[in-house]
């Protein structure tokens, strides 16, 4: 190697190495400048992006469980609808967004206030429902204006729907937004938009029907667009519930009630206490409550003086009238006051103290034993025996037969009614019991108040030879065995044969309603809603006269079918229906016949 060459080579190498080094330094400079751009110059922009680029937790609402009738017919389910939501976080001014939305669909003032109130309460990124179940033209309008309205969000949801409108409405109830107290309930804590059951089964079984919420973590960029789903935990559908109601009977019963302004029909299977039908009129259409706006419909319900929201079968209290006589007779028999041969003479009235107590038959029934007294519904016979039995013993038997009780069934707001006793009166009015009140109570008037379900249970206990039948509304798979009230055996046999005569022997009060296809037994009842004046009583035709509906008597009938081995017990109450024999008994006959036909 020559040194000169060597030297030349090294000087080239040095120069090139230096150039290379300069190149590298300048590249580092470019990279440094780029980092300056991102980290210093545009830092604010990226900081905002970073902040907005965040995880949202979106609650996935569960699908509410369905409700079925005893034959698996769907009574309540869910349909897909479109709802409009607002997400407070995504709008600078929630008021402005709502104003803009208001121009497409009107938002009423109270809803608006609720939305704003809620927006302060929930987490900023949680959506709040503004409208639900919007129609197609509204959907179209909002969809096309969505860009201009900040924070608006359309989503597909499920809406509760009831397949048979008002047929089972009282029993099932309806769902609606939770009110202020309900929002605090633990099972809806993270689901402010959840519709919860407000009445009936829907309310009692909220916990089962709601299911479990799921959630998904989503990543949203600065424009509010979902970039990706990070995790997802699906919601769990609520449990389905099957009730004991047989829709066919329920529909049939409602049809029968149509002819009357208000009433109730309860049909029970005495073997297991299953309520097969518990219809009450007037009723309401839950679909019209759920579908917003519902204000007009809601007001029409509230203004209706017949109070369609009242579930008469469990909330309506009526004097049981003569249907209470079985209880009195049983009390008389078990306490040895009467037997089948004991007779009392009915002259149409008896006196006690300075008052007269009338039989419904002004000329009297003549000599009556217990069987005749029930068959012909003689009041005087029961006046006579009640004097000897005393109110406390009667009320004890009444309670054993299921009266004056609230049942352990998942229906809210059952009315207990009144089975009076000395203690009860002392407590309630701080007054002692008057002997005359015993007489009035013995024919199911005065203080005595029962609801139609209680009457059906009472009838079930009689029909089943004293089994302590408990009503049941949720279908159970296992058989139920009720304990037997042994001490009433003998008495019940006497009463049952008397109830047979009521329907199936001439002179029986319900003889006109006897059925050959579905023979049944029962007892009529006609309960006064006001005191009949002496003048009225003396005018022979006061019962036949057309009197104002509100002043008419309630018509009642309780009965069971078949006669030999009873399976069904019924209670029919027609408000201001006139008389049990003329109005309630024919309805019972129809129900029994219809039910019997279903069995085949």
């Amino acid at each position: 190697m020559f040194y000169s060459e060597d030297k030349k080579q090294y000087s080239v190498l040095n120069r090139r190495t230096f150039l290379l080094y300069l190149l590298k330094v300048s590249f580092f400079g470019i990279v440094g400048w780029r980092l300056y751009d991102i980290q210093i110059k545009d830092s604010q922009k990226y900081k905002t992006l970073s902040k907005n680029n965040q995880i949202d937790i979106e609650i996935i609402y569960p699908i509410r469980g369905k409700i079925y009738d005893t034959n698996n017919k769907v009574l309540a389910s869910n349909i897909k609808v479109f709802d409009v939501y607002i997400i407070p976080e995504n709008t600078k001014n929630i008021n402005k967004s709502l104003n803009e939305l208001n121009q497409i669909i009107k938002i009423n003032f109270s809803d608006r206030r609720k939305i704003i109130e809620l927006s302060k309460k929930v987490k900023k990124f949680q959506k709040i429902k503004v409208f639900e179940n919007i129609n197609w033209s509204q959907l179209e309008k909002i969809e096309s204006n969505k860009i201009n309205i900040e924070g608006i969000f359309i989503s597909q949801d499920y809406m509760r729907t009831y397949q048979f409108d008002n047929t089972v409405s009282h029993l099932i109830g309806y769902t609606n937004k939770p009110n202020r107290e309900e929002v605090e309930l633990p099972f809806i804590s993270n689901m402010p938009n959840l519709e919860i059951g407000k009445d009936g089964i829907e309310k009692s079984f909220n916990l089962n029907l709601i299911g479990k919420s799921g959630q998904r973590e989503i990543e949203v960029n600065s424009y509010g667009r979902v970039i990706r789903e990070i995790s997802r935990q699906d919601s769990q559908k609520g449990n389905d519930i099957q009730i004991t109601i047989d829709l066919r009977i329920q529909q049939y019963a409602l049809n029968l009630l149509k002819e009357h302004k208000a009433g109730s029909i309860v049909l029970m299977d005495i073997n297991n206490g299953n309520i097969l039908c518990m219809a009450s009129t007037p009723s309401y259409n839950p679909n019209k409550i759920i579908k917003k706006p519902n204000k007009e419909y809601w007001n029409s319900i509230l203004e209706n003086e017949l109070s369609p929201l009242t579930y008469r079968s469990i909330q309506g209290l009526y004097a049981p009238g003569s249907t209470f006589k079985m209880v009195v007779a049983i009390a008389g028999i078990i306490h040895g006051i009467i037997d089948t041969n004991t007779k009392h003479f009915c002259s149409g009235k008896i006196g006690l103290g300075d008052r007269l107590y009338h039989c419904w038959k002004n000329n009297g029934h003549g000599s009556m034993n217990v069987s005749d007294a029930i068959k012909e519904s003689c009041d005087v016979f029961f006046y006579e025996i009640s004097k000897k039995i005393g109110i406390d013993k009667i009320s004890k038997v009444a309670e054993d037969f299921g009266l004056g009780k609230i049942y352990d069934i998942p229906l809210p707001n059952q009315k207990k009614g009144i089975i009076p006793s000395r203690d009860w009166k002392k407590k309630k009015y701080d007054e002692s019991w008057y002997p005359g009140e015993t007489l009035i109570s013995a024919i199911g008037q005065g203080f005595v108040l029962t609801n139609p379900l209680q009457l059906a249970v009472m009838t079930s206990i009689i029909a089943s030879n004293g089994k302590n039948v408990k009503p049941n509304i949720i279908k159970q798979n296992n058989d139920i065995e009720f304990e037997k009230l042994e001490k009433y055996q003998n008495a019940i046999q006497i009463i049952k044969s008397s109830m047979f005569k009521v329907v199936n022997e001439s002179k029986g009060t319900a003889y006109n309603s006897r059925s050959t296809s579905a023979p049944f037994a029962g007892k009529t009842g006609t309960s006064q809603v006001r005191r009949i004046t002496v003048a009225e009583r003396e005018s022979e035709d006061f019962r036949k006269r057309e009197i104002e509906w509100k002043k008419r008597d309630h018509a009642l009938f309780v009965g069971y079918m078949p006669v030999e081995i009873p399976r069904y017990a019924v209670s029919v109450v027609i408000e201001h229906g006139g008389s049990g024999a003329s109005t309630a008994a024919p309805i019972a006959k129809e129900i029994f016949q219809f039910t019997k036909n279903l069995e085949i």
């Binding site: 190697m1 060459e5 060597d6 030349k8 080579q9 080239v12 190498l13 040095n14 090139r16 190495t17 150039l19 290379l20 080094y21 590298k24 330094v25 590249f27 580092f28 470019i30 990279v31 440094g32 780029r34 980092l35 300056y36 991102i38 980290q39 210093i40 545009d42 830092s43 922009k45 990226y46 900081k47 992006l49 970073s50 902040k51 680029n53 965040q54 995880i55 990543e219 960029n221 970039i227 990706r228 990070i230």
Partner: protein, 365 residues
């Protein structure tokens, strides 16, 4: 021997350890404030590889010179075997098992390319360089590994091999017009090579051109990476406070995107500090190169420095959106054994070159 140890370039060693520690801190943060799974292994590797580098520094440079071609051929065979028996990685077969270690021959080949070129130019008389026929061998040295890497396909490594070759050839004294010619040839071949690109590689390039168009897909990494860097600002969000990376926005935050995590947590000050450390490290390599009395040591040192430079510039350009995401780690900082091993081997060779800088003759002849 002791003398040699005493004369080791401790500035270089210090820089390497410092950068590796910064890497470990980043990995600790990337794991959500945990040594596992990355930081602990990163530090373990650091310890082993430091010893390996020092051992490499102490062996006789004549051996290295002698075996330069042999090592190149060996690594070329390894690379070839990846095509045949490679384990499948992410859309590409790049790893091979050597004594139970999963290594990437494409990382090692860069070092042996440097060695081969260093030997070639050491052996070549200065006058000979001008001759066209003497371009054939260096281009073959570059083209064979390039071709193998391209068919893997590993676009990032292929690109870095080309760049490495250009830098070394430039330094060794090739005439400038030849580079200009080569540049035009390359330019003309771009449309042709686009046909050979895998769909995912095309995606990467197109998403680089317009990241916002496909925020969900490929552009996603880049947007998130820029958000992480930018939101760090001047001083950063603080150690372990980088929300972007914790919220899992950053993909592969422990490997290719570790720099953005550091940028988010330590800000502009942090990123510039790292860049300066690398610049200093590369400067040391160049200083050693200039100081060296033989061409082999010179080319070797500036080759290693250039290799480092390519890694750093490509990685940072990639995460800051200056170039497409091609999958190049940040040396000593990113998690990954092969690249780290390659860097330490190459730095060991630079240390060796410095210790043996005074030798005039490397061949025994």
């Amino acid at each position: 021997m002791l003398n040699k140890i005493r004369n080791l370039n401790y500035l270089l060693i210090f820089l390497v350890i410092l950068i590796s520690f910064i890497g470990a801190a980043g990995l600790y943060s990337a794991a959500g404030g945990s040594y596992n799974p990355w930081a602990s292994r990163h530090l373990t590797r650091l310890v082993f590889f430091i010893f390996l580098a020092i051992i490499l520094a102490l062996i006789n440079i004549k051996f290295i010179y002698q075996f330069a071609y042999a090592l190149f051929i060996l690594s070329l065979l390894l690379l070839l075997s990846v095509e045949l028996i490679g384990v499948f990685g992410k859309g590409a077969a790049r790893w091979i098992n050597v004594f139970g270690f999963s290594i990437q021959p494409s990382e090692l080949i860069k070092i042996t390319i440097i060695l081969a070129l260093a030997r070639f130019y050491h052996d070549l008389k200065f006058d000979e360089i001008k001759r066209i026929k003497n371009l054939f061998f260096p281009i073959l040295i570059l083209f064979l590994p390039f071709a193998l890497v391209v068919i893997q396909p590993d676009l990032g490594t292929a690109l870095s091999i080309v760049m490495l070759g250009i830098l070394i050839l430039f330094a060794s004294g090739i005439r400038i017009w030849k580079f200009v010619l080569g540049f035009f040839v390359l330019l003309l071949s771009i449309p042709l090579s686009l046909n050979y690109l895998q769909p995912y590689q095309k995606d990467r390039i197109f998403s680089f051109l317009n990241p916002e168009a496909d925020a969900l897909g490929r552009g996603y990494q880049l947007i998130q990476s820029k958000i992480a860097l930018g939101s760090g600002g001047l001083t950063g969000k603080g150690f372990l406070e980088g929300s972007q990376s914790y919220l899992q926005y950053l993909p592969e935050k422990q490997t290719d995107f570790i720099f953005t995590l550091i940028g988010e947590e330590f800000g502009f000050i942090g990123t510039i500090f790292i860049i300066l450390l690398f610049l200093l490290l590369i400067s040391v390599c160049f200083y050693i190169s200039i100081k060296s009395n033989h061409i082999f040591g010179r080319i070797l040192s500036l080759g290693v420095g250039s290799n480092l430079f390519i890694y750093v510039i490509m990685n940072i350009s990639m995460v800051s959106g200056l170039m497409p995401v091609v999958g190049i780690p940040l040396p000593l900082v990113s998690y990954g054994g092969s690249a780290m091993l390659a860097i330490f081997i190459s730095l060991g060779l630079v240390l060796n070159a410095e210790l043996n800088g005074n030798l005039k003759k490397l061949n025994n002849a």
